[in-house]
């Protein structure tokens, strides 16, 4: 993603780059928002169907999300292997050649914003999907949550101007990403454990009260 934005800005003449950067970033953010809302609508439709079939069972889905988060936390800690079903393709890079700069920025980010239809960069996507499927009673909330996820995903492009990464080579960007590997793994584990703990904190008191 960082390479794509940098590439789209760098290919413009020097005088045009500032305007091009601002345009690309704004359209990138809008695209992420739209893509997130789109995939949120698809999940909301599925969740609504589940809601009609089985009623509202948020605790059941919360428990399932905790189990899945625990399974992937174990995988992240190299205790066991868990399959990671996902699409193996990323947004096609050819889009940036086919479309104009403005259209390519929007469409590329919209593709990334669909999250579950691209290669998943985090195991936390699986418990997230389960949690969302459990709140079919409130489809607008699902769309709002996924729109924010799409927007956050697109907003990571803002590190380019903020850290001046748009002025460095592709190799430097790869090195910068690689240097964060350890902290990324720790944050991934923290998020998965947080999902387990928050879910358990919600479920256990209710189970104890029922008992």
């Amino acid at each position: 993603m960082l390479h794509t934005i940098r590439w789209m800005v760098e290919r413009e003449p020097e005088a045009e780059r500032h305007r091009a950067r601002a345009e690309v970033l704004v359209l990138f953010l809008l695209g992420g928002l739209a893509g997130g809302a789109l995939v949120g609508s698809v999940i909301a439709l599925l969740a609504r169907m589940i809601f009609y079939l089985s009623g509202s069972r948020p605790l059941l889905f919360l428990g399932a999300a905790a189990v899945v988060a625990a399974a992937y936390a174990g995988q992240a800690a190299a205790f066991w292997r868990v399959p990671r079903p996902q699409f193996h393709h990323q947004v096609p890079e050819s889009w940036r050649n086919i479309f104009s700069r403005k259209v390519a920025s929007f469409v590329y980010a919209a593709g990334l914003g669909t999250v579950f239809f691209t290669r998943l960069s985090s195991r936390a996507a699986y418990p997230l999907a389960i949690l969302l499927l459990g709140i079919g009673r409130t489809p607008i909330a699902i769309i709002a949550i996924m729109a924010s996820v799409g927007l956050v995903r697109a907003s990571t492009s803002l590190v380019l101007p903020l850290l001046h990464l748009d002025r460095v080579s592709s190799d430097r960007i790869v090195m910068w990403i690689g240097s964060k590997n350890r902290i990324v793994q720790r944050l991934e584990m923290t998020v998965l454990v947080s999902v387990i703990c928050l879910s358990a904190a919600s479920i256990l008191p209710r189970i104890l009260l029922m008992g």
Partner: protein, 65 residues
């Protein structure tokens, strides 16, 4: 000569940062509004893990090559 070249590049650097900062603030505002909208309908015990995992899913893509 190099100094002149560096100073010639300085203004776009600042404006790029300013653009990034303004857009960042706008993103925080929109995300907060969306999550408040969701929080109006969904109880915190479902929303909290969804927001934490969703935010991380978005941020983590920055570090995938």
């Amino acid at each position: 000569m190099e100094q002149r070249a560096a100073s010639a590049q300085a203004p776009p650097d600042h404006s790029a940062r300013a653009t990034g900062a303004v857009l960042g603030i706008a993103v925080i505002g929109v995300v907060a509004a969306l999550l408040l909208r969701a929080g109006w309908q969904v109880s915190w015990f479902v929303l909290a893990p969804a927001v934490i995992s969703g935010t991380w899913v978005g941020v983590a893509s920055l570090f995938s090559p």
